[in-house]
């Protein structure tokens, strides 16, 4: 893959990010500037920044890769990622802003007045933040390896270093400008090549996405296998391949079926059936639940709401974010679908996450247009890694500096940023085989089973107690965390247990709600005495708040 434009494009994005960061540094002087941008960020900037921060490697690369691999069933990922903002808007946005809480631990203390609950929430914020940071750094490593031939650790280290330095030196106001810029960059980087790809597809005579005889190679292709798999060739023979094996296919030859990949045209095109595929249906609903309810519990999403001036502004900002994110998610589907035609070899190598960055050159050829577009996409992908990692790092560092180090100074925040950045970098360097979108999905499941019930019940139900909240987080969140650890570290499983562990939200979220309500009812006397005042503060219109 010798595209000499990719590296300059990535360097340009990184430099612009750092430059905006330094511009922000000149404005950021007090601790309050660092942590909440002094509350003078306008709603439009804020909405673009939230969108920019939210659209991560999983959205930019992972969704298209999953669609290429599994077809229509995984369209629930983008739908759920967007719908998460609707749930946030309906149940959390305005009251959370009015509560004055800056982080989730803040909310615990404000609403329930318990220091121990605050500590528990801190642990979960850090766990979710790190779990979400690892795949971002991984994505950076894989992208640089695919496009520029750099060794895997280089990309991960570059992104980690740039982000840590930027956050430590500029704080959040700088990050707000960076994020807003990066939303528009990411949208452009997917939209412009998508137009060219669609035109090329027209010019090629609209080749069928799912030809009746299965996918075929359009050109003679040599494939280097990167993951163990069993291939079923067109003549029915099976072939076991290992990483490093090279396979050559002639033009027009059918793409072999790969174990674990939805290859058959009908399976890819159509939703899973009942009866024949109950586990698929369970997995779909579990995914819907995790993404719908998990967004509100992600630490880097909540932290943004404090930069809105009041509750009504928080609601309007969320609505704009929903629209911005929705527009963006129209695009990855195009890449996933066209990837079936132009990059079928990715189904054999298993590197489906690379479809977005490889497709422009595969479809348009290695001419100037193809190389320019490939460089643009690579720049967008890097923007995705940089922005999401910045947001996550800011929130994890904020929690570490106030709750673990126990000082609110700028120096403390900088030290916390370094600590928060080093751990996920070390993890990312040691686990390269994990599926980017799967790990992100697990982070959503943990957030949905711990902080979602806490926020929803805390905002709407007077009866919530600190004991109930702690029990719910421990049982529900704990079950989700256990599932994550088994998925990442444990043995491979099959059948229903594997489904329950790989997509835990459908049982851990109801479990968390049930435990939280039951224990709160049992410890009714511990309900805060000033609950009436708190409810007034959370729900009264902003004009009454002075």
């Amino acid at each position: 893959m010798g595209n000499d434009l990719v590296v300059p494009a990535i360097v340009a994005v990184t430099l612009v990010t750092v430059a905006i960061g330094f511009y922000g540094l000149r404005l950021a002087r007090t601790t309050s500037d660092f942590l909440v941008a002094s509350r003078v960020v306008s709603p439009t900037w804020n909405a673009a920044a939230i969108g920019g921060e939210y659209l991560s490697a999983a959205s930019f690369l992972g969704v298209a890769g999953l669609i290429l691999k599994y077809g229509v069933d995984v369209l629930w990922y983008p739908v759920g990622f967007a719908a998460g903002y609707l749930a946030l808007l309906l149940f959390v946005a305005a009251p959370l802003r009015r509560s004055g809480a800056f982080t989730l631990p803040d909310f615990c203390e404000l609403r329930l007045g318990s220091r121990r609950l605050r500590t528990l929430a801190t642990v979960f914020v850090i766990f979710i933040g790190w779990l979400y940071l690892v795949p971002q750094l991984q994505g950076a490593g894989l992208t640089l390896a695919t496009l520029a031939g750099a060794p895997y650790p280089v990309g991960a280290l570059v992104v980690a270093a740039v982000v840590t330095a930027n956050v430590a030196l500029g704080g959040m106001r700088a990050v707000t400008f960076v994020q807003a810029f990066q939303y528009w960059l990411k949208l452009t980087a997917l939209a412009v090549p998508a137009i060219f790809l669609a035109l090329q597809w027209q010019a090629d005579g609209r080749p069928a996405v799912t030809p009746p005889d299965g996918a075929t190679f359009r050109t003679a292709t040599t494939v280097v296998v990167e993951q163990r798999a069993v291939l079923t060739l067109a003549d029915g023979q099976t072939l076991e391949v290992r990483p490093g094996d090279e396979l050559s296919f002639a033009e027009g030859e059918p793409v072999p079926e790969v174990s674990g990949v939805t290859n058959g045209a009908t399976d890819w095109l159509l939703p899973s059936d009942a009866g024949s595929d109950d586990r698929g249906l369970f997995g779909t609903y579990s995914l819907i639940l995790a993404t719908f309810l998990g967004t509100m519990g992600l630490p880097h999403v909540l932290v943004r709401f404090y930069t809105n001036p009041d509750g009504a502004a928080a609601r309007r900002t969320t609505l704009v974010v929903l629209a911005l994110v929705g527009v963006f998610y129209l695009l990855p589907t195009i890449y996933g679908v066209l990837g079936r035609i132009y990059t079928p070899q990715l189904l054999v190598t298993g590197q489906t996450d690379a479809v977005v960055v490889l497709l422009p050159e595969a479809a348009l050829g290695a001419g100037t247009t193809g190389r320019l577009l490939a460089a643009l996409v690579a720049a967008g992908a890097f923007a995705a890694f940089l922005s999401t990692s910045s947001g996550l790092l800011t929130s994890v560092a904020g929690v570490i500096s106030t709750d673990v180090l126990g000082r609110g100074s700028v120096r403390g925040f900088r030290l916390a940023t370094v600590i928060a950045g080093v751990v996920p970098t070390a993890l990312a360097l040691n686990v390269s085989g994990l599926d980017v979108s799967q790990v992100v999905g697990l982070a959503f499941a943990v957030a949905a089973s711990s902080f979602c019930p806490l926020l929803v019940l805390g905002i709407w139900w007077r009866g919530l107690t600190d004991a109930g909240a702690a029990a719910g987080i421990l049982v529900g969140g704990g079950a989700a965390v256990t599932s994550v650890l088994i998925t990442v570290l444990g043995p491979e499983m099959t059948g229903w247990p594997a489904t329950f562990i790989a997509q835990p939200a459908a049982w851990t979220v109801p479990l968390a709600f049930t435990v939280m309500i039951a224990v709160s009812l049992a410890t009714r006397r511990r309900a805060p005495a000033d609950i009436g005042r708190t409810m007034l503060r959370l729900h009264a219109p902003d004009a009454l708040h002075s």
């Binding site: 803040d106 219109p541 002075s546």
Partner: protein, 148 residues
């Protein structure tokens, strides 16, 4: 209500007089925010707010009513989404023929999920913002009435 005007201190928003306090000699940008809040305050007669914060029976009932109205609205709209979107996997599962239908050459599930679901979500969100703000307006009108 000094506590509610408090600056965005990272640890907890209670402390009223930290070094970051906008009441003091902060940068001009921050002063503007405070002035906006002060001018807003003047629109509200002192008695109304006291009624709510002093936890009188009337005030308590008013707030409960508002919370119930907002929660009902949020639940109704999430029910719309649950039926409209959440029903789709089930529909495709029990009636596979629906999943096989094509519109303009595109299979229906791809069109529904990949394209139409996003404007649908935005429409629900827009409805919510409008109705939630109307609920709040009703509440402020109700609070204001005894003062007239």
């Amino acid at each position: 209500m000094a506590a509610e005007d408090a600056p965005p201190a990272p640890r907890r928003p209670e402390p009223a007089a930290t070094s970051d306090s906008p009441v003091g000699s902060g940068p001009p940008a921050r002063t503007r925010v405070v002035l906006a809040e002060v001018s807003r305050r003047s629109r509200w007669p002192a008695g109304t707010h006291t009624e709510l914060t002093q936890q009188t029976r009337v005030g308590e009932a008013l707030v409960r009513g508002l919370v119930r109205a907002q929660l009902a609205l949020a639940l109704q709209l999430s029910a719309v989404v649950m039926v409209g979107l959440g029903g789709l996997p089930w529909l495709f599962a029990i009636a596979p023929s629906v999943g096989r239908m094509t519109v303009l050459g595109v299979n229906l599930p791809w069109l529904l999920l990949g394209v139409l679901s996003f404007p649908f979500l935005v429409a629900v969100g827009w409805t919510y913002v409008r109705l939630a703000e109307r609920n709040e307006q009703d509440f402020t009108d109700l609070v204001q009435r005894p003062e007239r």
